[in-house]
């Protein structure tokens, strides 16, 4: 390589490098601040010790559990939807179908939650229909439990999962499915041997996008969830606002982050997932 190239290369590196640096700074800087706050004052570990007390431990695990559960439901619903749109729906209706499924993306997050309050409340749409049609004598309590919260979560996050999965599903070569059928595969084996492995990257990307946001969600559990089941976001908000205990809030957030990363790593380490992801 000649010396004359060098200034040009430096400039190239600067041009390519600065956005990367900016992104890194934006991503890392708040985290560092948070971490410094969490171990203060005076480098003590008290904040972390408190996070691991049973009350908080329970909330952390519950949040992770909700994240895993809702993400799984979203994927289970998104698979048939995206398969149908990508491989069964006539070409000209495809865009319409995609837009219809992802419509909730265009509305405000809080409004979406309250839509479900309106639907599920004692005097809400569902109860009125059930009672009015004589199926039930009196209204049911449909709100403020894990199911209503789950419905709200799936409703809000499904569009992200559908959009991400759709990209993968569209790239799935339908001829592979034909070939598998010809070789004797049942529908179940076609899904397991062809559809799942060929779309796993999409499922993984969708999980990355929604899982942590669900586990750390604030509004949906507040609006639709049971008051007794506390998710992590409420505790963090409380620590910030009510007790102005920033150090503790930061420590809580950090442990949560580690748990999220840890559970994602656990998923990615499963040999089957690893093998399929390596292909891409």
């Amino acid at each position: 390589m000649s010396v004359a190239d060098t200034p040009g290369r430096v400039r190239d590196w600067l041009i390519a490098g600065s956005p990367v640096l900016l992104a890194l700074a934006l991503g890392v800087f708040p985290l560092v601040t948070l971490f410094v706050e969490s171990i203060g004052p005076g480098l003590g570990g008290e904040n972390y010790a408190e996070v691991l007390s049973p009350l908080y431990r329970g909330a952390l695990l519950y949040s992770i559990g909700v994240g895993v559960g809702v993400t799984a439901v979203c994927l289970a619903v998104a698979y048939p939807i995206t398969y149908w749109i990508a491989h069964r729906c006539p070409d000209r209706y495809r865009l319409v179908a995609l837009v219809a499924v992802t419509l909730p993306l265009w509305l405000n997050y809080v409004v979406l939650n309250y839509a479900w309050v309106w639907i599920l409340a004692r005097g809400g749409v569902v109860n009125r229909i059930l009672v009015g049609s004589g199926v039930l004598d009196s209204s049911l309590d449909l709100l403020y439990n894990n199911v209503s919260m789950g419905i709200g979560f799936v409703y809000i996050y499904l569009p992200y999962v559908v959009l991400t999965m759709y990209v993968s599903m569209e790239r799935l070569d339908y001829r592979l499915i034909t070939a598998a059928r010809d070789l004797g595969a049942s529908d179940y084996r076609v899904f397991l041997d062809i559809v799942l492995p060929r779309t796993l990257p999409g499922a993984a990307a969708a999980t990355l996008i929604v899982y942590a946001r669900i586990a750390g969600a604030f509004a949906t559990p507040e609006i639709l969830g049971s008051p007794g089941n506390i998710m992590i976001a409420r505790l963090v908000v409380q620590a910030f606002r009510q007790y102005t205990n920033y150090g503790f809030a930061a420590a809580l957030s950090f442990v949560f982050l580690l748990l999220v990363l840890g559970s994602l790593a656990l998923g990615a380490l499963s040999p089957r997932v690893r093998r399929e992801l390596r292909q891409w």
Binding site: R175, L176, R181, L183, G184, E276
Partner: protein, 364 residues
């Protein structure tokens, strides 16, 4: 009993018939080719045989058993697809063993049969490779092995060589024939390449517009095609319309624009004065003698032989002759001696036609 028997198969797409009353039978162990121009319904037929497409009408029998209502996975057929569609996320061995695994063959036996199949297609030791790391010809062999290993009653092949270059195609063609004999599997081979079909097959069926117009051994189809379409689809042929002028023993003499031609026919079925169509193959045309005169209008060198298009009264006949490397235009006087002298455009030659073939004319 026939390995495959098809009776009255129909399929329309949006009211347009793609397959229109196909019936055929294939004995066990035969190499059967279905050929025809693009869009004539070959793939549609094959997909119905495989169970990947439901026919509108007709029956499909495998080894005497009616399988018309069975889906692909319950049929003893396997397909080699035109674009191969190997599973990219599986190794070569996993690809080949996939059908066995689905029919419940477990591992010591499965591994053994996969190895045998790979050896049969000359890919022993390639089991651990990814399909993406193979050459085009090797991928072709994997696709063949993947279908063949299941020991299907009929192996269906949809233009499996179309994507290969000519050298590789010729090589694979010979391989296919060898493998078909070695494995004693019934092959139903679909192609629009008449040359390869003729060289590989025991029986050829020519399709046109969703129907089989002529079927038989390649030699018979070539020398005695039933229709003018079959005559010109299988090799070169000049088609001439004419009128029967007299009977000559078992033959008839047909008056055409180019001159009178003798055609062997079942003379009784033609009367003097009938309007007929005859096909003339280049090999049947001889230089010199004969009763036809014409002018050379075009010459083509084809390696060991030379071909000339000769205009006889407005009809072009093609005549071939082996090249004589010693002869040059300089020392030649005329091509009209049959001595291997090169043709020259514009020269006048006399031709004889040994044998014209009476064919049905679909256009009429």
């Amino acid at each position: 009993m026939h390995a495959l028997a098809v009776d009255g198969l129909h399929k329309s797409f949006d009211g347009d018939p793609a397959v229109d009353d196909i019936s055929l039978t294939v004995p066990q162990g035969e190499f059967f080719s279905l050929i025809g121009p693009s869009g004539c319904g070959k793939t549609t037929t094959l997909r119905m045989l495989a169970g990947l497409l439901t026919p509108d009408a007709g029956r499909v029998m495998l080894n005497g058993e009616d399988v018309t209502d069975r889906p692909a996975r319950e049929r003893e057929t396997n397909t080699v697809f035109q674009d191969l569609v190997l599973f990219p996320h599986m190794t070569v061995a996993e690809n080949v063993g996939y059908g066995l695994a689905r029919s419940g063959v477990t591992d010591p036996e499965r591994g053994q049969r996969v190895d045998d199949a790979l050896a049969l297609v000359k890919l022993a030791g390639f089991g651990d490779r990814d399909p993406a790391d193979l050459s085009g010809g090797q991928r072709q062999r994997v696709a063949l092995a993947r279908a063949l290993v299941n020991d299907p009653t009929v192996l269906l092949l949809d233009e499996p060589l179309a994507s290969l270059d000519r050298t590789l195609r010729d090589e694979m063609q010979a391989e296919f024939r060898r493998i078909q004999r070695d494995s004693d599997t019934t092959f139903l081979y679909v192609t629009h390449d008449q040359e390869s079909a003729m060289s590989m097959s025991d029986t050829v069926a020519v399709m046109r517009d969703g129907r089989i117009v002529n079927a038989g051994p390649p030699r018979q189809l070539y020398t005695d095609p039933q229709t003018q379409f079959v005559a010109s689809f299988l090799g070169d042929a000049t088609l001439l319309d004419g009128e029967v002028t007299r009977h000559a023993g078992p033959d008839v003499v047909v008056k055409t624009d180019a001159g009178p031609l003798r055609a062997d026919a079942d003379a009784a079925s033609y009367a003097v004065g009938d309007t007929v169509t005859v096909a003339v193959r280049p090999e049947a045309v001889t230089l010199g003698g004969g009763g036809l005169t014409g002018t050379v209008v075009d010459i083509a060198y084809k390696g060991f032989y030379e071909e000339a298009a000769v205009d006889c009264n407005g009809t072009e006949l093609v005549v071939r002759r082996e090249r004589n490397t010693a002869a040059t235009p300089e020392n030649a006087t005329s091509a009209d001696g049959g001595t291997g002298v090169p043709f020259r455009v514009g020269e006048t030659v006399t031709l004889g036609v040994d044998r014209a073939i009476l064919v049905e004319n679909e256009r009429r």
